[in-house]
């Protein structure tokens, strides 16, 4: 090998500033209308959340036990592959969730992007979004409000697939007898959220 080749192999290296890249890229992509989905991690009392937002609103809230790769793949396929980690874009969500967990906020004003929701589930989840802080409904009641009074079980499935837990408060839907029912994020989280709102059934 010649000296010249050796010199070329000893190329200058420069550390890539990943943080600056993330910030710069998100900013420029946003300005150019190329950022279809932005996501970032947030801390919460019920573990790390990852939130996804689009120009239309909040698209997805992911609990820590759900693998991120699967959620990213789903969002890439069903919404857009133009996805970037962009913490600044999720600031409004962070502020409202922080306010909620600190009991300074009882309702969310965030716009919702319902792109991941289809059909009957959409009706159920939109009704669920109207249940006020501190209140609860039964699966049957939510099904009825969504137009199918006998579809309590289907309503349960729809709530189980809620892409936007906490903000679309599926934790406020219980069995008619006061039993907690299910929760996609696990019953401990459902219990925590109901207790936070002062609506955990007494005998639970």
């Amino acid at each position: 090998m010649t000296d010249l080749e050796q010199q070329l192999r000893d190329a200058p290296v420069a550390e890539l500033d990943r943080k600056a890249l993330t910030v710069g890229l998100a900013q420029r992509a946003g300005r150019s209308g190329l950022l279809d989905v932005a996501y970032a991690e947030l801390d919460s009392p019920i573990g790390e959340l990852i939130v996804f937002v689009t120009p239309h609103g909040l698209l997805r809230v992911k609990y820590a036990d759900e693998p991120i790769e699967g959620v990213l793949a789903e969002v890439a396929e069903r919404v857009s592959p133009r996805i970037l980690r962009a913490p600044s874009r999720t600031d409004p969500v962070r502020r409202e969730l922080d306010g909620y967990f600190a009991l300074r906020r009882q309702r969310f004003d965030l716009p919702i992007d319902w792109s991941l929701v289809r059909g009957f589930a959409g009706g159920v989840l939109r009704e669920t979004a109207r249940i006020p802080f501190g209140d609860v409904r039964s699966y049957g009641q939510v099904a009825a409000q969504a137009g199918s009074p006998r579809a309590a079980r289907a309503a349960g499935n729809a709530l189980g697939s809620n892409p936007i837990p906490i903000v679309v408060p599926c934790h406020r839907v219980l069995h008619a007898d006061g039993k907690l029912g299910g929760y996609s994020g696990g019953l401990d989280r459902k219990r925590f959220l109901l207790a936070l709102e002062g609506s955990l059934p007494k005998r639970m």
């Binding site: 010199q7 070329l8 200058p12 420069a14 890249l21 420029r28 990213l72 970037l84």
Partner: protein, 157 residues
């Protein structure tokens, strides 16, 4: 058509593209070139018809951006003294080792420059150089040797 989330491309390839661009355009312009590369890729991304070789696709874009950047630097040259006065060098606190050679690399015709960088900076076989550049193994070999010839002349001068 399943395209991975774009952030995955950034996570997997930003560091090597940056290295390629540092060698191609210098440290000062590499970061901007990298952002330009990723923005162009992001713009075209949903229209890609297959996700077979996203890495080569990114290198093609980076190569184009590097060429644009080298051309625009050639049109608006910054002499070294100007650089000192304008803080151009100050943003590059550690001068590159053997900067003279890398200036000559930057001055190579675009294909030769990219081929030389892939071959030596990334230590790739000619076949892989060709694959990253979307040219044949033979064309990669020719570009590397033409580039080396030219560099030798510069260095010996």
């Amino acid at each position: 058509m399943h395209l991975p989330p774009f952030q995955r491309l950034v996570d997997d390839h930003a560091a090597e593209l940056h290295r390629f661009l540092v060698a191609s355009v210098g440290r000062t312009d590499a970061e901007d070139c990298l952002q330009e590369t990723l923005l162009s890729a992001l713009r075209a991304y949903p229209r890609l018809r297959h996700a077979d070789n996203l890495r080569a696709w990114l290198y093609t874009i980076a190569h184009r951006k590097a060429t644009d950047s080298v051309r625009s630097r050639a049109r608006h040259p910054v002499s070294e003294l100007d650089g000192v006065a304008e803080g151009h060098v100050a943003s590059d606190p550690q001068p590159l080792p053997d900067d003279g050679l890398w200036r000559s690399v930057r001055a190579l015709p675009a294909k030769q420059r990219a081929a030389v960088i892939h071959r030596f900076v990334f230590d790739l076989a000619y076949r892989d150089v060709g694959e990253r550049m979307g040219i044949s193994e033979e064309a990669a070999r020719q570009n590397v040797s033409a580039g080396l010839r030219r560099l030798r002349m510069e260095v010996d001068r």
